[in-house]
């Protein structure tokens, strides 16, 4: 019997974090804040993965437990964290370059791709 908070609460927290992150990405104009919201989304996904791993839902309902690893969830988390780190590195570099160029990093002003 798994004790602790019910799974649904973890999922709810994850959903809340994700939604916040999404809304932040769309609404905020400062790219650094956008990156923070992206981090928020990624972490919410991490939390969800972990919750499912913890609560064993990966193999709930299957008869054979042998070929499904309990470590699938945490494995994904490691990948996500690596990607997040790389993305932040590159993204912050881009922001620095743009700032040096324009002295302004408002996302709405970066519309050179306009057709």
């Amino acid at each position: 019997m798994i004790t602790g908070a019910p799974l649904i609460l973890y999922l709810a927290l994850g959903l809340f974090m994700f939604t916040t992150g999404v809304v932040g990405v769309i609404i905020r104009r400062n790219p650094i804040v956008v990156f923070m919201c992206i981090e928020l989304m990624l972490n919410s996904v991490n939390l969800t993965f972990l919750a499912f791993a913890r609560y064993g839902l990966w193999y709930q309902g299957t008869t054979d437990h042998g070929d499904i690893s309990i470590m699938n969830g945490p494995m994904m988390i490691i990948f996500v964290m690596a990607v997040a780190a790389a993305e932040v590195a590159v993204g912050l570099g881009i922001i620095m370059t743009i700032f040096r160029l324009r002295q302004d990093i408002d996302v709405d002003d970066m519309n050179l791709l306009k057709g």
Binding site: V22, V25, I26, I27, R29, G61, V107, D108, M110, N111, L112, L113, K114, G115
Partner: protein, 722 residues
């Protein structure tokens, strides 16, 4: 069948062709080396000799032909077009019809060539003229000697081409070129009919190959067509004879200037007078009559077609005669007279007596060529004045011309025993006695015959008017101011400013330099304008010009009598008679009076001459009463103007409307429209590329949500993902 004595006939074709080529090749060098006068004389003789030689060969071959019994030979050289469907060899047909035409063409042709050496003596482009003239003779000979319809067509179009080149000979005046274009294009309308007729004959023979009496794949050769259609176009297929005949007649109308395709002939008078004599009087325009004689079986089998020929012939004859009354240019009177006489020939052919058409061709060649050459002599004497209102009493000054034209005038009026009377009489008697030409059973040629008598009177009348205005009466040319302008004289511009405008660097040497230009202008021969001054007398023509006139006068006088004896010409042309008996006995002209045709036609001719003198020399006061008729007649009843406006201006407007309105306006608009649709679609799609990053993010969110919803729906469908 041993055709070896006739193999020489190819020389008749080759001699003028070689002559034409030699004129082009040797003309420049000879004139440069011998000087202008002598050089031109040499080139002139070089032009006459091939035609003369061809005439001699023609006489020889005719003699050979006359000694045979069948009088019908064919010489084949090679296969011109050979496909699985049809074979058209290069074959020449030597029979009485073709040799008669050969003799006329080369005989009259050589006389006209001789005349032209004198007439064109001041012409700068002397060799070019004779090369075209020789080429014309060659093409005309191919036309008459051709043994199948396409060969005749080669000659047909070839003479059309030469006519075009010769009418537009003085090309510096655009009006001449336009007349040449008109001649070629109107001829082409006739050619359309001729080609369709050819196709009809070929296809109908081929489709019934099994039942043909003469089985051969040369479906367009005369010796295959004529015997076959005799058997084939009978019964339920009789209409094919009518259709084929009418289509071929359309072609003949184009070449022989019958209504409605006659309108090129008056304009063709823009060419030099020898051209008018040779092409538009003696030879080319008779090609239609020749064709009708060739395929006469078709017309014999179709009363309707013969009726059409008769009616169109007589209508043209009358129409042209009326117009001739009002013309003031001497050449135009003769042109309309030619159209009218051609109508006569067609009446003869339509009545089933095809030999009468050819008879009139021969006599007409003599006296009409004489009239044209005489008119040319008058024009030459009057320093290129062509308006008859400025002539008068010329018989005192140019007696030889007058004497010869006198003979021709009586011949064309139909005074016995000159040649014209015999040929006209034979036509009229054939028309009056004929039962062939009929529309739906009622014969038409009697009416045509009576109208032809009336036209004979009119012919005598207007020709007398021409003669009276020119050779009798007061000397109206004495009232002239000395600056008479020439009608058929090439103009030479001296005053066009020279352009030194920059052509840039002339690295390829395309242009003459200043020095070269100076040399060119110094060496160009100048042409003199000489107007007729008040004390300037018209001078008689040189012998090179009056010798042909005299010869033609002798022929005009005696040829008719000679050929008519005992039906010599009729039996020569049609030794076996006609395949279907057509011509009946001539009825009494006016029933109950016992008047013979000879009497009536002579009376008509004399009356015409009498009225001609009366009206022309004395009858000025009646002129105003019929002034409206004169104006109408002068303008060809506005037929020419209407046709030209409709085709040239109307055609131009239609073409431009078609081009701008349809090609550019509709088709190109659609094409460019399709292109701009692609562009428009692109600019529509462009609006999604806002460059607004947050908008892109929102779209990504929406897309992601959409995928999730779809995934959820699919899982739900599957039953919850088990």
């Amino acid at each position: 069948m041993d055709t070896s004595p006739f193999n020489i006939i190819i020389a008749v074709l080759l001699l003028p062709l070689v002559g034409s080529f030699l004129q082009v090749a040797l003309g420049g060098p000879v004139i440069r080396s011998l000087g202008v006068v002598k050089g031109r004389k040499a080139m002139g003789w070089l032009a006459v000799l091939p035609i003369l030689a061809a005439f001699i060969v023609g006489v020889y071959v005719t003699g050979q032909l006359a000694q045979t019994t069948s009088r019908d030979f064919s010489v084949t050289y090679f296969d011109w077009i050979k496909v699985l469907a049809i074979r058209i060899p290069f074959e020449l047909k030597i029979d009485t019809l073709s040799m008669t035409m050969v003799l006329v063409i080369t005989g009259v042709g050589s006389l006209i060539h001789l005349y032209a050496t004198g007439y064109m003596a001041e012409e700068t482009d002397y060799p070019r003229f004779f090369s075209y003239l020789n080429l014309f003779i060659a093409c005309m000979l191919i036309l008459v000697l051709g043994g199948n319809l396409p060969m005749t067509f080669i000659g047909w179009e070839g003479v059309g081409l030469c006519s075009y080149l010769l009418i537009g000979f003085w090309y510096k005046d655009v009006a001449n070129s336009k007349a040449a274009n008109k001649a070629f294009i109107v001829n082409r309308v006739g050619d359309w009919g001729l080609t369709l007729g050819m196709f009809l004959l070929a296809v109908s023979l081929a489709i019934n190959y099994k039942s043909l009496p003469v089985k051969s794949d040369r479906f367009l050769s005369y010796d295959v067509i004529l015997p076959n259609v005799l058997q084939l176009f009978t019964g339920p297929h009789a209409w094919m004879a009518t259709v084929a005949a009418i289509l071929l007649f359309v072609g003949a109308c184009g070449k022989s200037a019958q209504f409605p395709l006659y309108l090129w002939l008056p304009d063709a008078m823009a060419g030099p007078t020898p051209v008018s004599a040779l092409i538009h009087a003696a030879t080319m325009v008779t090609a239609g009559v020749y064709l009708l004689n060739r395929v006469h079986i078709l017309f014999l089998m179709s009363p309707f077609a013969s009726g059409v020929v008769c009616v169109i012939g007589i209508f043209t004859a009358t129409f042209a005669a009326i117009i001739a009354f009002a013309q003031t240019d001497i050449k135009k009177v003769l042109a309309y007279s030619t159209v009218s006489q051609l109508g006569y020939m067609f009446v003869g052919c339509g009545s089933g007596a095809y030999w009468t058409g050819m008879f009139h061709v021969v006599t007409h060649a003599f006296f009409k060529a004489l009239l044209f050459l005489g008119a040319g002599a008058v024009i030459y004497a009057m320093s290129h004045e062509q308006d008859m209102r400025r002539y008068g009493n010329l018989r005192k000054y140019i007696p030889i011309t007058f004497g010869t034209m006198f003979v021709a005038w009586l011949a064309i009026a139909g005074i016995w025993p000159l040649s014209g009377s015999f040929s006209k009489e034979s036509i009229i008697s054939a028309a009056l006695g004929d039962q062939l030409a009929a529309f739906g059973g009622s014969p038409v040629s009697q009416i045509c015959g009576y109208v032809a008598l009336l036209v004979a009177l009119m012919t005598a009348w207007y020709m007398t008017r021409l003669m009276a205005m020119t050779f009798w009466g007061p000397e109206r040319w004495r009232e002239l101011v000395p600056e008479a302008h020439g009608h058929d004289h090439a103009r030479h511009d001296h005053d066009v400013p020279h352009s030194h405008a920059g052509h840039g660097e002339d690295i390829h040497g395309f242009f003459f330099t200043d020095e070269e230009m100076a040399v060119r202008q110094a060496s160009e021969p100048h042409e003199e304008h000489h107007g007729l001054t008040a004390d300037h007398q018209p001078k008689e023509v040189p012998p090179s010009m009056w010798v042909p006139l005299v010869i033609l006068a002798i022929l005009s006088a005696g040829a008719g009598y000679y050929l008519n004896q005992n039906g010599l010409f009729e039996h020569w042309l049609y030794p076996n008679g006609l395949e279907i008996k057509a011509a009946g006995e001539p009825a009494e002209i006016v029933p109950g009076t016992g008047l013979t045709l000879l009497t009536v036609s002579t009376v008509a001719a004399v009356l015409g001459i009498f009225f001609g003198f009366l009206v022309t020399l004395k009858g000025g006061r009646y002129a105003s009463r019929i002034g409206w008729l004169k104006d109408l007649a002068f303008n060809q009843f506005y037929y020419d103007k209407t046709m030209m406006d409709a085709s040239v201006k109307g055609g131009g407007e239609f073409g431009r409307a078609l081009w701008q309105g349809f090609d550019v306006g509709v088709i190109d608009r659609i094409v460019n429209g399709v292109a701009s649709i692609a562009g428009g679609f692109g600019s529509l799609l462009r609006k999604t590329q806002t460059g607004f990053v947050r908008g892109y993010a929102l779209l990504m969110l929406a897309g992601g949500l959409g995928v999730l919803c779809w995934l959820g729906y699919a899982l739900y469908q599957q039953g919850g993902g088990r």
